[in-house]
């Protein structure tokens, strides 16, 4: 009998600050401690990965994901501890290495770094980088990252990064071990090609429209592997979702909170607010996984199959939401949706 396909299912959050039942918002400290509880729940449910985004904005609590992941490591057993994403362009690859090799030690190798260019740009002025260098910074830093992962004394002569001469970065990884690295990608063909060139698996952010429109990107991913003669890496996607036993309630929550989150981001970027019919479209045919466990499972399975995906990450708690809604989404995802998707896909 052929071996069953192995799939990975994760949850992700940008650290959206949640709300109490009485409608009051948590403070940042409460939100961070809440996140630890949610990660613990996800681990108990057997969810494979938790990914935390790095943001520097008022509506999100997580600006230093590795610190939160280290705290999560202490209260969990199996779950992989990922970022989603680490904005490498405005970070120092040496420090990223130090933080993740530390997390590697503390979590017994459960860490994962998801590198990205970042769709938010607050981190650039905050850390003293020029937006003009957006592309070049990532290009140079991902090359530096690959050198750092070799774990040897390093020589590096960068244009936008520091010069290193015969330098070892600590803590060193145990022999033969590495920092699990994936790359988060939006809609840029170049980003896919670059990730494959460096040999890292890709997670596509599919946050709007019919997922099938990403087929060319999936083809490009495969073709790039051929071109660069690199083994084909697993491919994943991340999308927003709310799972409640009451599907209508899930839609109501989505319309309130996902819309608020998108409109807030849109206001900064000069986009129009989300219309009701666009929201409905995203739920029915598009990229929002909002509904009952069965509805969401069917949709995930269909899109993973269509796009030949090995991993699906559900972004939960978008826009904050009430704590019980966040909790129910995670619980139903782990208890019902993931097993059902595996059943529908005939894998494990």
């Amino acid at each position: 009998m052929a071996e069953k396909e192995k799939y990975t299912f994760g949850i992700e959050t940008f650290g959206d600050i949640g709300f109490n039942e009485d409608g009051t918002q948590l403070d940042a400290g409460q939100a961070l401690r809440q996140l630890i509880k949610e990660a613990k729940l996800a681990d108990e449910l057997g969810i494979d990965v938790i990914g935390l985004g790095e943001h520097h904005r008022s509506e999100y609590a997580v600006s230093s994901p590795e610190i939160v992941l280290a705290a999560i490591a202490e209260v969990t057993k199996n779950i992989k501890l990922s970022t989603a994403v680490t904005v490498l362009s405005s970070d120092d690859p040496v420090r990223v290495f130090e933080r993740f090799s530390t997390l590697h030690a503390l979590s017994n190798g459960r860490e994962q770094v998801m590198l990205g260019r970042g769709s938010f740009t607050e981190s650039f002025p905050l850390f003293g980088f020029n937006m003009e260098d957006y592309d070049n910074l990532f290009e140079e830093k991902i090359a530096m990252w690959q050198e750092l992962l070799k774990g040897e004394a390093m020589n590096w002569n960068g244009k936008l990064t520091q010069k290193l001469t015969d330098t070892t970065v600590y803590p060193q990884l145990p022999k033969g071990e590495t920092i699990d690295t994936v790359v988060g990608v939006g809609g840029s063909p170049d980003s896919i090609v670059r990730a494959v060139y460096y040999g890292y698996p890709v997670i596509l952010a599919i946050i709007g429209g019919e997922p099938s429109r990403f087929k060319p990107y999936v083809e490009l991913y495969k073709k790039a592997s051929d071109q660069f003669k690199k083994p084909l890496q697993p491919l994943g996607m991340h999308s927003h979702g709310i799972i409640l036993e009451d599907g209508e309630e899930a839609k109501r929550v989505g319309w309130e909170y996902i819309k608020a989150s998108m409109d807030r981001i849109g206001a900064d970027r000069g986009w129009a607010p989300m219309s009701r019919d666009r929201f409905e479209f995203e739920v029915d045919k598009g990229s929002y996984y909002v509904g009952t466990p069965e509805e969401v499972a069917q949709k995930i399975a269909k899109n993973m199959k269509d796009l030949d995906m090995n991993r699906f990450d559900l972004v939960y708690g978008t826009g904050g939401q009430l704590l019980h809604q966040r909790n129910e989404t995670i619980r139903l995802y782990g208890e019902k949706v993931v097993p059902r998707v595996k059943e529908l896909l005939g894998g494990e």
């Binding site: 937006m131 003009e132 809609g187 060319p216 073709k223 000069g270």
Partner: protein, 228 residues
């Protein structure tokens, strides 16, 4: 003219999407970006099968109409002589993520497409394909097959209006003539029209009320009145 050859400079999110739409519309699409032809070749064979990859110089030389799908700040690299006599559709926007945190190129008195027209002084510049998100060029179009989305354009050259309208129509949109190029300011980031993928009626409604918006008020403040 028969169907013009359309060149696209830039093969990122916008350029590759427009290439796909152009091929679907039956145009000869030639495209270039900063990558060598050999690399962009296999990328485009996947992203927009049917589009032909050339160097940027060859694209400008061979195209009748050239769509600028590059960062705005790269306009200085365009050779005005090579562009002379050609139609240039300016889809660029000042975008701080790639053009820098301070806009030193254009302002509320002079829109970015006017800057490009000044640079490409012997070309026929129209602002077009800039106000709709690259994803919505496909998402909003596909999901409204019977209600075309308005694609606004602005140009100082009446002679090219029919060609521009035909291209916009064939790409799947309803052309919306804003008038002279200076009115292209209405389509820039910060305007209530920016990011809109709506019907012609809805678009018209928004234009009619543009000076009620904070963006419109800023225009009046900067220019001492509405754009005339």
């Amino acid at each position: 003219m028969a169907k013009p050859i359309i060149g696209i400079l830039g093969a990122g999110k916008l350029g590759s999407t427009l290439a796909r739409l152009g091929v679907q519309a039956g145009y000869d699409i030639i495209i270039a970006n900063r990558h060598p032809v050999s690399q962009l070749n296999w990328i485009m064979a996947t992203m927009a099968p049917g589009a032909t990859v050339m160097t940027a110089e060859e694209v400008v030389m061979n195209a009748d109409v050239i769509i600028l799908a590059i960062p705005l700040s790269h306009y200085r690299n365009l050779d005005p002589e090579a562009f002379a006599g050609k139609i240039a559709l300016d889809a660029t926007n000042y975008w701080f993520e790639v053009d820098g945190t301070t806009n030193t190129i254009s302002d509320l008195k002079k829109s970015s497409s006017e800057v490009i027209q000044e640079h490409l002084k012997d070309s026929l510049v129209a602002k077009a394909f800039n106000h709709m998100g690259y994803h919505d060029l496909e998402i909003e179009v596909d999901r409204h097959p019977h209600e075309k989305r308005a694609m606004a354009y602005a140009t100082n050259h009446d002679s090219i209006r029919p060609t521009v309208e035909e291209i916009i129509t064939n790409f799947g949109f309803a052309p919306f003539d804003l008038g002279a190029l200076r009115f292209g300011l209405y389509l820039e980031p910060g305007s209530p029209l920016f990011g809109e993928a709506i019907t012609t009626e809805e678009f018209k409604e928004k234009i009619d009320h543009i000076y009620d918006s904070s963006f419109g008020k800023k225009i009046i403040e900067a220019r001492g009145g509405e754009i005339k």
